[in-house]
Amino acid sequence: MPKRTDLHKIMILGSGPIVIGQACEFDYSGTQACKALRSEGFETILVNSNPATIMTDPELADRTYIEPLTVECVRAIIERERPDAVLPTVGGQTALNLAVALAEDGTLDRLGVELIGAKLDAIKVAEDRLLFKHAMEEIGLAMPRSGYVGSLDEARALIGVVGYPTIIRPSFTLGGTGGGIAFNGEEFDEIVLRALDASPTHETLIEQSIIGWKEYELELMRDVSDNVVIICSIENFDPMGVHTGDSITVAPAQTLTDREYQVMRDAAIKVIRKVGVETGGSNIQFALNPSNGDLMVIEMNPRVSRSSALASKATGFPIAKIAAKLSVGYTLDEIPNDITRKTPASFEPTIDYCVVKIPKWAFEKFPNSDATLGTQMKSVGEAMAIGRTFKEAFQKGLRSLESRSGFRVPDGLDDAELRRRLTVPSAERVYFVMHALERGYSIDELHELTRIDPWFLDNLLQIAECEKEIAKLTLRTIGPGRLKRFKQMGFSDQRIAQLTGAAEAEVRALRKSLGVSPVYKRVDTCGAEFESHTPYLYSTYEDEDEADSSDRKKIIILGSGPNRIGQGIEFDYCCCHAAFALKEAGYETIMVNCNPETVSTDYDTSDRLYFEPITFEDVMEIVEHEQPQGVIVQFGGQTPLNLAMRLLAAGVPIIGTSPESIDLAEDRKRFGKLLRELDIPQPPNGAAISIEEARAVAIGIGYPVLVRPSYVLGGRAMQIVYDESTLNNYMTYAVEASPEHPVLIDSFLEDADEIDVDALADGDRVVIAGIQQHIEEAGIHSGDSSCVLPPFSISRDHLDAMRRYTRELAKALNVIGLMNIQFAISQGRVYVLEVNPRASRTVPFVSKATGHPLAKIASLLMVGHKLSQFNLPDELTVDRFYIKSPVFPFVKFPGVDPILGPEMRSTGEVMGIAEAFGGAFLKAQLGAGTRLPREGAVFISVNDQDKRSLIDLGQSLLDMGFTLVGTRGTQRRLAAGNLPCDFVYKVNEGRPNIVDLIKSKKIDLVINTPLGRASFYDERAIRRAAMQYSIPCITTLTGAAAAVAAIRSLREEDIQVRSLQEYHAQAAAR
């Protein structure tokens, strides 16, 4: 069936900010959908609140709304745009939920808008547990037995049906707290009572436990003629019980016979037909009993997902792109396979390699959280690796995570503890498995403890055996045959060096002298049955190379690896832009990255894609293979920067700002010297490698001080230290300082305004791209602070000082490309906190706000273009307020205090745009999921420093009709200013206390600034309760002031929605 002709204008819903469980994969899918629909001639309208995405680039849709993904805002956009259809299946759960809400409230029908991809009924069957269960029963497929109960009696009645072991999962608790697994009646009663108590709705799920069963996923596509194909099968290394997003997963399935695989395939096809997903992709999860093959359906997603992004990258079959085309009426046989060109998309990809995905976690940023892996996803990113064997892919995957090399576990681990570590799934479990294998645990024993399939365990054993073999060798005795075999198993030069006591460079030199180098093979969807026209490559140690490198002028762009807090989609955005711009400028572009979620690893983004770990070894091999004119390291965040000096030393032509300049800016001593020469103030600071030195430095500077390790990302282990005992503690436990990596100590500027400046430079000229004022003061990590373009309360003198410093520093560091500077203004003086002569997190935000693609311009500067070619003023301007607000994952980490600090903990960001500051902040907050109240009661509790501003804050709130609630101290202070305030007990004073009020929904807003140096139990309880009951909780006074402005805007005017293209056109006209 050809393309539908009754549709002209299609709205695509994005997934909003990056959060745990919903990340870059939806930028990848949304971008593909935008491109596919546009190329089919449809007018496209995109809505997404996340400015860091490629999909929200104004060129990708006819109109791009960076507006909050709320029902109200999307409805307003639909009313304005009157699209013929909405595509809700490429924007994750967020888009699906919005579509359901808009369908159910009648908006879509009223405005004659059709849902394409998945209809309301299908979405509901897939999403509603009970409807789905009934549907599965009707087609004869089993699911775990389960039911919801509201009392112990009901639970006892149900357990007879469900049986032990059983999972008890309270409804609506954060991170599933309060639940557990019961193996007998006694445990059952105890856990059920606890769960009912923990649930705000006094309800819990009782479900048959199939923990330990094997877990599989199938990715399917269906077209309007009911043709169904399976794109990829995925087998989870971690068995049932660990969220698939937290599991190591492997494609294709490894331990299913064809019979079992076909049973699963048939079941999946029945499911997609029964649920009624009309066109597009779906993901279906299965559990399989390893002792008899019993199969159960776990769930289905009637949309593209994280797994479909993985499956697309694993097979070369672009699921989201095809899904978009199917949604407008094409059938699978009408769509060509891009890779083979001559065969159609109506087939099932076959792969001739093994793919391993390994998640990356950020538990170190949430020290009090439970690091056990369970049914709630906790990882923040993932790496994928491709190899010809599982062993090769697995080891490549581990090094793609950029974690330590080898499998060392803590010393002195006794057997009991090791067994516990094996039984309880955690981020580190695979290392303990390797350790246990080294200790001589048998596969059977390990399978018993971990339930990991013996096939995987045996493969790990082969790696462990090989480690032992290597350790007995020296570089002299290793020989070419063995070396090739080790490389085929995925051992890095670095690991071989460690095991043989040699240097990595020596292993590399030996390899080269013995002629042991990787070849590159293609991902081609078809196991080489047809010729491939897309150079999508991975390395392996075999005979035949298919890279087929060209002799065009070419640039390699190093990506940013797996997402992590502090290094996420913003850097992928920059890398993609480099590819787009340089391709347009006539270069062949070559992307290197290992993150399957991203747009950069779409084979469409660059001319050539190397899906490889970003390590020195892997990058050097590609450079040698391709012989590029230039390599870009400044766009991929810390990952490529960490390699820059070594690459430079190895003769790699790094373009743009030189790695020496980047290094200089990171080097405390040399950079301090440069600032003194330029007469630019910097907070007093020093560096230390011992407790004694640290103490001396701190005394010299004066407390409080900001301490952190050098060369880190996202403020890792950064802390504000108010006294010597905390400093001792920090130096002893928090960091390992060394002469190469000293601890940096800065004077902490209290109550300072913080400003981020992004700039472009070409060696001669500097263009200031954006001066962004933070809403939160210095001391809160810049990535965790809302930031405002243009600045809203900075004096002209200070702005001029920052402009001057920026230009001077860009020239002094000979910046070619992008630069970011963080300034603080304290007591009338502008200080430079940090200079990063590279792409920063704010590049996409500033690009979207100003309408100038900074990363594209920067990449052209790197290949010799001049700023004068771009027709830019000396400083880019905006004609309204653009505010970027962070989004935090605290909900996923029970036990963590949701306060802001110098260590970055946000995972994503949104942008709010409005004429006035208050309106923009309101939208940013809405986009970030915070619904500020129009009216009601505000609980205020502030620390001593903040008490000065208490009266003003209270007055503003009272003026808008709010009532104030406070504990004794606050009440007294407000009374001193003649402001009325209702008294409430602290948590330990009596009842009902403040937490009781929050739980009974009598508080509409919490303003609670941490009391000084440590946070106390009382306030933590308040903040946790506010989070659990979804009550906005503001933890800084500057944030509170912004919130007041936003509430005022909320009360006084309607939210306006406009597309980015309209904003930019207006700005250009003014």
Binding site: D266, E348, T350, C354, G527, E531, E546
Partner: protein, 381 residues
Amino acid sequence: MEAILALEDGRVWRGQGFGAKAEVAGEVVFNTSMTGYQEILTDPSYSGQIITMTYPLIGNYGLNNEDAESRTVFAEGFIVREVSRTVSNWRANESLDQYLTRHGVPGISEIDTRSLVRHIRERGSMRGCLSTEDTAEEAVVTRARNAPQMVGLDLASSVTCKEPYVWRDAQAEAYGSPTLLHGADLSVTSRMLHVVAYDFGLKRNSLRNMAALGCRITVVPAHTTAERVIALKPDGVWLSNGPGDPEPLKSVIENLKILCERFPVFGICLGHQLMGLALGGKTYKLPFGHHGGNQPVKDLTTGRIEITAQNHGFAVDADSLPADCEVTHLNLNDGTVEGLRHRTLPVYSVQYHPEAGPGPHDAAHLFERFVTAMKAAKKTK
């Protein structure tokens, strides 16, 4: 154990041997299925061929008692990137190495199988020799060159059963009857229907599919005369898959001409090619054939697409078919004929494998179509 693989054009791969210590020659083909190596090894259609699996990790789930498609291994040799040293599946009772050793078939692993596949794709399938017997390179190449050419080769006559027999499935109650799995429409079943199945190298799963639809099946050798088949009073005649070139099977083709006039006939794979020849068409050799479980086929009569299991080196030439025949199925990858039927007689065939084993069950309904045709024919009698 060292092993060597040589092609007739002189290209040689060296790797590790597994399975039996032996030297074999045959046509080297590649199969793109990621699962189902046991079914593939035991498919008689692979007689005379050495199989390369494109998926690199083979043997992971071992071998079991239920999944063999015939009495023994028919492939001459087996080529894989990595043989699993361990076996993980509750039904497994043997490793790939043990299985091949027991059946006297050699294997080679640890070679760049993708380079071999690309070589065949570029230059067409060719003869090869696989040796695990320390043979000198030159001798192995010579042996490859001396192997028989597939064109003109009658292999069906050597793999067919010796005597007719009534099919009884030893595994009838075993794990997962395929028909129940893909949800066949049992309303078309009939205990009354008698199928005579020509064995040119048949796979058990075809018989299981028909038996599950209620058919009583008598299997007959390839060269059974039309008269003997007529004497068995069948309701329909089924033509199996099988190895080699269909053209040398002249007497079979003559028998089919007679049977097509009298009974509903359903042919699969080699059976389809024989049908094409019997109806007056021609066959030809494909460059490297279709071997895998992901081949898209469009049913031109319904417009639906099926993902099919395929295993053939020859194809029916569409232009050669007489006017009373029509092409019903096309391969969407290369446009070759995947199915045909007679315009007036209840006679039809498909080039692919509706019985799967291994492969998707998308086309299993074709057996129901056969049953329906037999019922209709019975009614008009």
